[in-house]
């Protein structure tokens, strides 16, 4: 087993996969608590479908670097969705449902109309479940993921106190003069970046799991925001590491393996939380 692992580590693409996977897992766990508690988790879900649509556009256009299209489109929709959510006239969740199903249908149609390879079903499956894409990263992909991850982590650390304030009590924050709209915009943008990043790792259908499970695990055991944040970050990285290693050794799809490890950890944390009372 160990020999096999060492042999695999000799390949650069495996090392890339590990580095990028762990970084992405870290990023996606950071805003989990905010997402869950602000009821933004459905926005995350909608956005991942938008990202799928954007990705299929990029695939059809045969771009070498798909991020150029996927990232800006997802950010724009994140901001639009947030705006819609604040608009009481149009129900926020209905708008999101419309958008996400629409993007999904549009993306699938595009990929069938303009197949970029002979295996459309395989392509679609890859974008939805991320199957092997983490092992086929180029050095450029690794750099982009690395830089985006660092940006997300830096923003999170710098604005940690503001994010806490805005998430815990938006009205109070507003009343004492914090620019709540600005920070909501920041949160939406960061969520969009995280989703685009995570799509590389687990595919667009499993992103929510990567974002939400570490936060839920941490919340069932820990009771302060700081501890919850640290625990979800660390546990998410460990789960990603194990998930990738298992998937390499056993040959299971990367994304679903990572998510399975996350789910198992959640089960354990939930039980611990229950037993502690």
């Amino acid at each position: 087993m160990l020999d096999k692992l060492i042999m695999y580590m000799g390949f650069p693409f495996v090392r890339y996969a590990l580095i990028v996977g762990v970084l992405i897992a870290l990023c996606s766990s950071l805003l989990g608590v905010t997402l869950v508690l602000k009821r933004y988790s459905y926005i995350g879900d909608g956005l991942s479908h938008v990202a799928f649509g954007a990705l299929s556009i990029a695939t059809v256009l045969n771009l070498t670097n798909k991020m150029i299209i996927v990232l800006p489109l997802t950010i724009i929709f994140a901001i639009l969705l947030l705006r819609k959510g604040q608009n009481t006239k149009i129900k926020g969740d209905a708008a999101i449902a419309m958008l996400s199903v629409g993007a999904l249908a549009f993306g699938y149609m595009l990929m069938n109309l303009f197949p970029s390879s002979s295996n459309v079903a395989g392509d679609v499956c890859t974008t939805l479940f991320g199957s092997t894409s983490i092992l086929t990263l180029t050095q450029l992909d690794v750099w982009i993921c690395g830089i985006l991850s660092v940006v997300v982590i830096a923003i999170f650390i710098l604005f940690y106190n503001k994010i806490f304030a805005v998430t815990f009590d938006e009205n109070f924050a507003n009343a004492v003069g914090t620019n709540v709209n600005l920070y909501n915009l920041l949160i939406a943008t960061v969520i969009a970046i995280i989703i685009v990043l995570a799509m590389n790792l687990v595919g667009s259908l499993l992103i929510s799991a990567l974002v939400i499970f570490p936060a839920l695990s941490a919340m069932s055991v820990f009771k302060s925001f700081k501890k919850v944040t640290i625990f979800s970050a660390v546990s998410s990285m460990i789960c990603a590491l194990f998930g990738i290693l298992i998937s390499i050794l056993v040959g299971t799809p990367v994304g679903s393996t990572i998510v399975t490890v996350d789910v198992l950890l959640f089960g354990v944390c939930y039980l611990i939380g229950r037993i502690r009372g």
């Binding site: 508690l37 304030a165 919340m219 700081k226």
Partner: protein, 215 residues
């Protein structure tokens, strides 16, 4: 001079006003109470004072050294915060967010202020406890400590004793009176006319739209 003046103020939502012709003046050191039945628009008025929503018409002006982001605010209990994993200390410290300005992290002074207000409200023992596991009365104290971190001058309290038992209610009122004696201007919404009469010096009734001087 008044710290807060409402002139021909109307408040409401989306072109529909819930309360009109509001006129009052609050002076520094006042204990100003707003009374009225459920749904009469008290919370709406308070949100307008805080600048969370714009007045429908008329004006609110601040004076005498009070700025609108220097008011400590104790919201009417909301359910949103119920599941939030946060310690008492983290929540009280977040009251300092307005003095953070362009900075990113809380300074030693901020932390000292948070601790001082935790002591002032007698919740040191709860400092590391999780907010969602506290009783209603304890939660109110935590939010009050947070509000105190946000202000040196004025506190706005939206039904601070709602849902508290009689003994804790009395404690809460004594606490607020103490803060008022220390020089803070108190603006409070309440249903509890009996107690309000004993503590406040001005009562504004949203039905009659008149200010009564009590003391």
């Amino acid at each position: 001079m008044a710290v807060l003046t409402a002139k021909e103020l109307a408040v409401g939502y989306e072109n529909q006003s819930v309360l009109e012709n509001i006129n009052f003046e609050i002076n520094a050191g006042d204990y100003f109470c707003i009374v009225g039945e459920n749904g009469s628009g008290k919370t709406t008025l308070m949100k307008t004072i805080l600048g969370l929503q714009a007045p429908m018409s008329g004006s609110i002006s601040f004076g005498d050294g009070l700025e609108n982001n220097e008011i400590g605010y104790l919201p009417q209990q909301s359910v949103v915060q119920r599941d939030f994993p946060a310690s008492v200390y983290e929540i009280v410290l977040s009251g300092c967010q307005n003095s953070l300005g362009k900075g990113f992290f809380y300074s030693a002074e901020h932390k000292k202020l948070a601790m001082a207000n935790i002591k002032r409200l007698g919740i040191e023992k709860l400092k590391n406890r999780c907010y969602r596991e506290l009783s209603g009365g304890q939660q109110q104290r935590v939010l009050l400590a947070r509000a105190l971190c946000a202000t040196k001058n004025a506190l706005l309290l939206d039904e601070p004793v709602a849902g508290l038992d009689p003994q804790v209610t009395t404690e809460m009122y004594e606490l607020i009176k103490q803060l008022n004696d220390d020089g803070l201007t108190i603006i409070m919404i309440s249903h509890d006319i009996q107690n309000v009469k004993a503590y406040a010096n001005k009562i504004y009734d949203v039905n009659t739209k008149e200010v009564r001087n009590v003391r």
